[in-house]
Amino acid sequence: MMRRALIAAVLLVSAPALAQLVTFPGVGGGGGGVVVSTTGPVNLTGTTAETNLASLRIPANSMGKNGAVEIKALWSYTNSANVKTLQPRFTSTAGATSGGVLWPNAAPTTTASFQMLLILHNNNATNSQTAFANAGGSPFASTASAIATSSLDTTADTFINLNGALALSTETLTLQRATATVFYAP
């Protein structure tokens, strides 16, 4: 009896509470129900300032409290020693070139193209987000960085702003295409 009581006490202290779940069958608008996509490439050249190349709108209330957004973007650029900065920002305004950094920028140099995947989660509230704080070129990995957080209100429209910057203004950075897919979960 003592042993059982001891085991029960240990379990009580140390067993994790199982995570709460939401299930959302796809009938009439389930998983991957909202897709926002660019419609053709956009070039950046002639400036060294951070410039918005696409704003992908996440419609108000499309994520729910536990939904996720996946952003996939294909970039190309001048292959040179100069840095080309690819900077995603999650903000409440379209076209923002400051704030909203959940993911570190990617800064390719002597390569020609880059594909990124970014994942944004609501964390059991419509105004609480978490994301893996790695650049989008290595979305599945482990890192010493803490999880990135933000507190935007997704009951209003929010935006994934895909921005670029050139170290040398005569070079070119192209956002070939970008897609955001929203996976709703209440």
Partner: protein
Amino acid sequence: MRLPVVLAAALALSVAAYGQTVDLSGSASGGGGIVIATAGPVTLTGIVTETNMVSLKIPANTIGKNGLVEVRCLWANTNSANNKTLSIRLSQTSGAVSGQPGFQTVLTTTATAQSLLAIGNSGATNAQLGFANGQLLLTPYGATTAGTVTGTVDTTADAWININGVVAAAGETLTLQHAALVIFPVP
């Protein structure tokens, strides 16, 4: 709005090296039909054996003979030299901490991780194929010399994605911040 997703899913499944394909264009049971997500983080500590942190149910007959399940997880853990093991198993029972197909990845001196497991039925509702075991929950795309992982779970009955953890040092923590499962049904 769903059409691009359906088309993308059908395309993704139809380009595999001259295999047989199915086209779900216009089907009401198309891609990404079911999402199951956790609702808040769960933390494991104090136990050094494999422990279930969440079970995500795959409802009976939702995958089909050739469908795919994707499981995405965001993790946080004590940054130390001690092993923190992520373990994901497809099982016939909820909460299983053993059995195949299972996939494990060990974390040590990092603080966060994001993982992806893709496992699909392969021509039958009780035949699964997944990318090889090892550290590949963190590198789900790429090449490996390891063989694929197979399973024989009957997906005409309810099946479960059991997301488990192990901490080698009982005083350390492993937190499942978020997990989402998406089923892409294919008959």
